[in-house]
């Protein structure tokens, strides 16, 4: 039956533990992390009750040392690059705005690590992390956020619209929910083309209520599109608490109604996110249709801008709609040190090597900032270009 969860499918997912001698120990370690939620709870139309609450942890074992190190590096890139933006902006004179992703890094990295370079993502207003995890260039991204002529979008788009078609990044997007529809449309295009690519649409907890999500989900289910919808549930829509505007607690349950398999995962656990994302990606690639994955997380900064934050300090405090205590509890679940502990315990990285990675990423971020700073601003008249493929539109002033 369309969309019904197939337990055999999950159990039969490839176990590559034989290929990596560390696999067994990793699995043991992961299982010992059970308390912090490795694995996903899934919901699905027709799934029997027993299935609910069960977890899967199949793909993590196949991650190589290089892949794991790259995941750690990417999480740090997101963290340190955005923290740099915050510090630059608080210093004053910053030519741009931003919705910071800090705190949610495990989702972008977990998901994008499960993708191929030629897969697509459709991103949101809080999308810097998605783009970095998909290979976005930190220099060009910072140049774009500061509206420089050499940024990703030549200074036209800024933070909200960064796009890199060559990396399969269909763009950040300032309209909530649109990412689901753009992504599902791209997934339909893949079917027409007949390739085995997949599309991930990222969206916040607020993104599934407008009609865009419904249109995307129903079509993805009906046509079995290679579409994965990642719902980043950071519990707020600006200041509005999710629990005040939804009748359900686990948003992945929405998937049921469309006949899509829905999963809930700890969004602060990069391995858990990777695991379920990889499962969904393999399924989509094999033509077995879409998955909706809800990742529970928390944003460290305000919805937009830098209120409540300070240079050299993580997090935004004193915001009226949440308690500092709640933020601190979530900061204690910081996905980055958590992953580092895993990597060190598993002997993927030594403490020394992990520190080196931090220093390397810091240098990359500083280089990006220096690059962006040195870039030229756009020419005024160029605002009239790029409306159509050819020519300029008239100014009509004289």
């Amino acid at each position: 039956m369309n969309g019904e969860v197939n337990m055999n499918e999950i159990k039969a997912a490839p176990s590559t533990s034989g290929t990596d001698p560390k696999a067994v120990s990793r699995r043991t370690f992961i299982q010992s992390l059970g308390a912090i939620g490795v694995g996903a709870i899934f919901f699905s139309a027709g799934a029997d009750k027993q299935a609910r609450g069960q977890s899967v942890s199949t793909y993590i074992d196949s991650l190589s040392t290089e892949q794991l190190t790259a995941m750690y590096t990417d999480m740090l890139k997101i963290r340190l690059w955005e923290t740099k933006i915050k510090d630059l902006a608080l210093k004053g004179g910053f030519r741009g705005v931003a919705h910071l992703y800090v705190g949610e890094e495990a989702i972008a990295v977990g998901v994008c690590s499960a993708l191929r370079q030629d897969d697509y993502i459709a991103s949101t207003h809080r999308g810097h992390g998605h783009l970095i995890a998909k290979g976005g260039d930190l220099k060009l991204m910072l140049a774009e956020i500061t509206h420089k002529a050499t940024g990703y979008c030549k200074g036209y788009g800024g933070s909200l619209h960064i796009t890199d078609m060559s990396l399969g990044i269909l763009g950040m997007n300032g309209i909530v929910g649109a990412s689901h529809l753009m992504g599902a449309g791209a997934a339909y295009g893949i079917k027409v083309k007949g390739t085995d690519q997949v599309v991930v649409s990222f969206g916040g907890d607020g993104s599934i209520q407008g009609s865009f999500f419904t249109s995307a989900a129903n079509s993805a289910a009906t046509y079995k599109l290679p579409w994965i919808s990642i719902i980043e549930n950071n519990q707020f829509q600006i200041w509005v608490r999710c629990s005040d505007v939804y009748g359900i607690k686990d948003l992945a349950r929405r998937a049921d109604g469309y006949g899509i398999e829905g999963r809930v995962v700890d969004g602060n656990d990069v391995l858990a996110v990777y695991d379920v994302a990889k499962y969904a990606v393999e399924k989509a690639r094999a033509g077995r249709g879409p998955t909706v994955i809800e990742c529970k997380t928390y944003r460290w900064y305000d919805h937009y801008g830098f209120q409540g934050s300070k240079i050299g300090r993580d997090g935004a405090f004193g915001l009226g709609y949440r308690s500092d205590q709640e933020l601190r509890e979530w900061m204690a679940k910081d996905p980055i040190p958590r992953f580092r502990r895993f990597l060190v315990n598993e002997k993927v990285l030594t403490e020394e090597r992990a520190d080196e990675v931090v220093q390397e990423v810091k240098q990359t971020v500083d280089d990006a900032a220096a690059f962006a700073e040195a870039q030229p601003v756009p020419k005024a008249v160029d605002g009239l270009l790029n409306v159509f493929a050819e020519g300029a539109v008239p100014l009509h002033k004289s």
């Binding site: 741009g96 509206h147 200074g155 800024g158 909200l160 619209h161 309209i175 002033k397």
Partner: protein, 323 residues
Amino acid sequence: MPKSMRYAILEAIQGEMRRDKLLTLLYEYQRPAARWGGRSINLEAEFGRWRARFSAIDENWIVGGALGMSMIGVRAIAHIPSMTTLIPYELMFNHAGKLRHMTGGQAAFPMILWADMQGRASFQAGQHADAGLESCYARLAGLKVVIPSNPYDAKGLMVSAIRDVDPVVFCHYSVPTSGPDVPDEPYTVPIGQTAVRTEGKDITIVGYAPQTVEIAKAVKQLKQRGISAEFIDPRTLAPLEQVMETIIKSVKKTGKLLTSDDGSYSFCNCTEIIARAAEAVPGTKFKRLAFPDAPPPGAPEMINYMRVGAADIVTAAEKMVRG
């Protein structure tokens, strides 16, 4: 310090919610609360959550809900954020604007679409710096469209909109505070009544909302250069008949009509004003200043070059007056 536009609008709604015990506000995240001096308004605290209700990110609910409520006699205000102006377009087009007519006068929608509007700000780009979409609503049958430029007009127009039995789109651009002080008690600025901001004899200049700031500057500079400009703020964009009476009277006097609009050149609302003036007063000289037919770029260098500023208005007016 005078009351801000937001405070003035909330004061209008507060007064009407006290008068009409059913009047209800649906909104998304723009809290219906504001402070001014030592005073504060908080509609949720005063009237409870049933009458001042935030929602999920769901503009179709906010507007559609208001339509349904108002259809059974519960007056409603639907407040939507600025980047979503056209999301509820279908509801306003095919329902709010049409059903009175289609039902032979039975159905009524005493509702207000309180639409936050964007300006042409730098660093926003594309989806967050567009302007001029009021003309999309003004071209729909059955809808009234008002567009205040200062807190006094905002309060008076909101009261009129709430008391109106027809659907009204209340276009709320944020404009630096100017104009008369806002009285505490309810009052109306009638829908259809324009404001002649400055009287003059050489040229008529028409514009509204953020452009009023540029026009006011330009009018001063023109005066220094010996040109007497008459500046009219329409305040209502639909229906336009009564508004045009004032504009046509002015144009008959000056023989020249210059309009200045943050909307895109084609189909900006002033296009309609020029067309009507052309029909009514043959021989008039016209000039339409507007944003190019382009999305708004984020970089200040580009968007500020494209947007109409006071200097552009002065140049255009001088050219029209001096030949």
